[in-house]
């Protein structure tokens, strides 16, 4: 059975957000991919072909768009998908060591899932948390920052017991009516800058 076969209202809703033209139909590609990925954890080849048929394009085109983003997966991921930022700042702060440690201790390579089905790993491009490098993202839940050896061990230990520690910084998930992004917990994004202290020796003036 195809994925969208009995989800006509959902498909119609997604298409209604875009212009009713061939180009507009193609624009619905990303939300459709997201829908499948959220439901099944990855987008298989048959799903790519299905989305291509819906959008009036080819599976090649769908795979091309999809492979541009590291957030879409073509293979199943573990229950905890560990994404290690490997771009310059994290690399300087030791993301390679973190990566090697994960790969060795979990005995899992990119594209694989560990034997117990819990873990999969992936190197990703900049996640925009350079100040707290090295960092790691677990699933879509949030950022684990300054992941040194002991913190990494603590995280893995609790994940092995299926107790996922709270992220240091949950990722923003929605945009409110006022245009502000809102965290999964409901708090405003960027709250970490509200508690800033003025450095000693600096005169007042503009904040």
């Amino acid at each position: 059975m195809t994925y969208f076969e009995n989800k006509q209202p959902l498909v119609a809703d997604i298409f209604s957000r875009y212009p009713d033209s061939p180009q507009g139909r193609r624009s619905a590609l990303m939300p459709l991919l997201r829908e499948v990925q959220d439901a099944e954890g990855f987008v298989s080849e048959s799903r790519m072909a299905e989305i291509a048929a819906l959008c009036g394009t080819t599976a090649t085109e769908v795979r091309s768009v999809m492979s541009f983003y590291s957030t879409y997966h073509t293979v199943p991921t573990g229950r905890y998908h560990l994404q290690v930022c490997s771009t310059l700042m994290c690399a300087l702060a030791g993301s390679d060591e973190l990566w090697d440690h994960l790969v060795e201790t979990l005995d899992v390579q990119p594209g694989e899932v560990s034997a117990d089905g819990r873990f999969s790993v992936q190197k990703v491009e900049c996640l925009g948390s350079c100040g707290t490098a090295p960092m790691m993202q677990i699933n879509d839940d949030g950022y684990y920052e300054n992941v040194g050896p002991s913190k990494c061990a603590r995280i893995l230990e609790s994940l092995r017991n299926d107790l996922q520690p709270l992220p240091d910084n949950p990722v923003p998930v929605t945009v409110g009516a006022d245009g502000r992004q809102v965290l999964a917990g409901g708090g405003a994004v960027g709250s970490s800058v509200t508690g800033l202290h003025r450095l000693p020796g600096q005169a007042g003036g503009e904040a």
């Binding site: 080819t58 599976a59 085109e61 795979r63 492979s67 541009f68």
Partner: protein, 726 residues
Amino acid sequence: MKVTVDGIEIDLPAGTSAIDAVFSAGGDVPYFCAHKYLSPVGACRMCLVESGSPRKNPDGSFVMEGEGDAASPKIFWFPKPMASCTMQATEGMHIRSAKTSEVVAKAQAGMMEFTLLNHPLDCPTCDKGGACELQDRAFEYGYGASRFGFDRRHAEKHYPLSDFVILDQERCIHCKRCVRYFEEVPGQEVLDFIERGGHTFIDTQEGGLPTGFSGNITDICPVGALLDNVARFRGRNWEYDHTPTTCTLCPVGCSITVDARNGRLERIVAGENRDVNEAWICDAGRFGHVFASEERLTTPLIRDEDGQLVPATWDAAIDAMKRGFSGMRTADVALYLGADSTLEEGAALEALAAATGARSVDHSPRYEVSVTAPQATLTDVATADAVVVIGADLGEEAPVLELRILEMLRGGLIPPEFAHGTAIADLRLVERPARRPERLAVIGQESRLWAHAGHRVSANGKGALARLTHPDTDELRAVLSLLEGAERPVIILGADVLNGASGSFSANLSDLASRTGAKVIAIPAAANSRGLGALNLVPRTGGLPLSRAQEAPAAFISRLDPGVRAAGFTVVHDTHLTTTARLADVVLPAITNYEKRGTVQNLEGRLLPLHPAAIQSGESADLIRTLTALAEALGVKAPARGLRGAQALLADRVALNLSDLPARGALHTFRQTFAGPAAPHTPTLWTERMHARRLTWVDRIEELVQNDWQLPVAPAAPPARAGGDD
């Protein structure tokens, strides 16, 4: 529009790209991603130039530089080099290429270094060696050294995209030409970039490239990443004898270059003819050439006492023909020729028929109707605002015509022509162009073009034209109003309507054409059916058409395989030992159209030249020379003994002067065409013998040895021969 390039002021039409401005000024800019018939995207960053423009004051006057009479508008230069293929030249713009700018030279050398960073140096083994744009440009514009000492990226080599096209992912420089080609030209989005950054590679998710027009990407790939699998590892570019000629597998008459090596046809690449095929050819034309060098007849064969065909000399063959024809009236010998023969050959045959008094003369395949309506050219098709295709499967009949129709759907933009040739980057061509399917109507069976059409009418071809003239359904009414509302409509007629078209057909067609102002292309049955139709090569009163060849008292059949022999003595002139040849009394070896000199007329009436490629074919002869042998056997004087004699016949009989035909061909309308009853013809582009057998190199060499194939070498002492008039 005045533009200054490297200090040379030139006058250009508005909208010209900066790269074309440099080429117009006689300069050079290296480029990989730009292509004459594809949208410019600025992907390779190789065509960098420095550019600057004058700027105006708020009052509209130019910002000036200098004092008094020496004052000139001040040029404000862009702070860094710009990609010239995506930049439009504007009034007063100044452009500096690497010739005058060190900044540009350094930027281009740096870009070259970057492109070569991960490119494997396969040049000693790569098939593109010697014709590789990257190789040439690295030599001309590179530093000659690299500062990057690390290992190169490794990706998959020899990755088959289809049976015909092999991808080498390591060699790909991501110019995106192949991706854009598939999207913009045949309208099939089957290739794209997968992954991103340093991991990007080209791939398809459709399970292989569609057969049809896939081979063109091997031509446009600027490096050796996409290679023609039929010709791969058969020769290096400098070893081939390149012969520009015309493809005669279908009536389009695409410009091709035949590459032969050691007397074998190894490769065919597309040539450029803006009026016919632009720069594209179909897969059959590109990959279906194997028959030219496989299992050829190289000597005449005559039947011995045991009834076996045995090799013989031409003299022995002429003697055998003399014996066979003895006691027979020359008029009893039926003369048949293939409809892809040249005009010269047709003229020679017609003149011989006149000399012998033969009534049974025919060329095949042909349709029995001759269309009298305004003739559309292929450029008319591409620039039309409505096209109606009736009863045609263009994929089998005239594939490149399909590309010209698709060109019409995306706006009919034909890149302008400059002194340096076709514009290299026509800025009007865009990626993912908007298409106008409502301008195309397809009436008939489902075909590949069907998917692109806005109006689709399922119809049996025979009555389709009459039904369109007097529409009985809403669909047909819509098609007719499309034709009537259009300014430059074109009607294309295929085999389904032309087969067995009755007397009212021509009247119906001219009526429809005059009512709607439409021009017409009736796709001929074979490459030169149109031209040969003008030469009276149809059965005279009481003569037998090819379909009744078995009733003829004797016959001469050239490059046709009806599968039957004449009642009496039969001579077959063919390139291969066909079914008909096996039945014949004498078989004379023929040359293929790749080895001929002559002229053919394509579906739009354009005369196109054939040039002979260096292919080993033993003692094979073209039809004109074979007819002199036949004339000798029949005891009549041969009307033409060579090409020039045949051209004189053409000038004499149909007022056609072929002595100075331009390379791009010339349109010609014959005053009269001859038609007669003909058997129905089903066009098929690919024939059995055109498919390459997948041989391993061991099998291939073994076969060459078995066929006693030898390197062609000049004879030690060429025998003195009397000169012919060829």
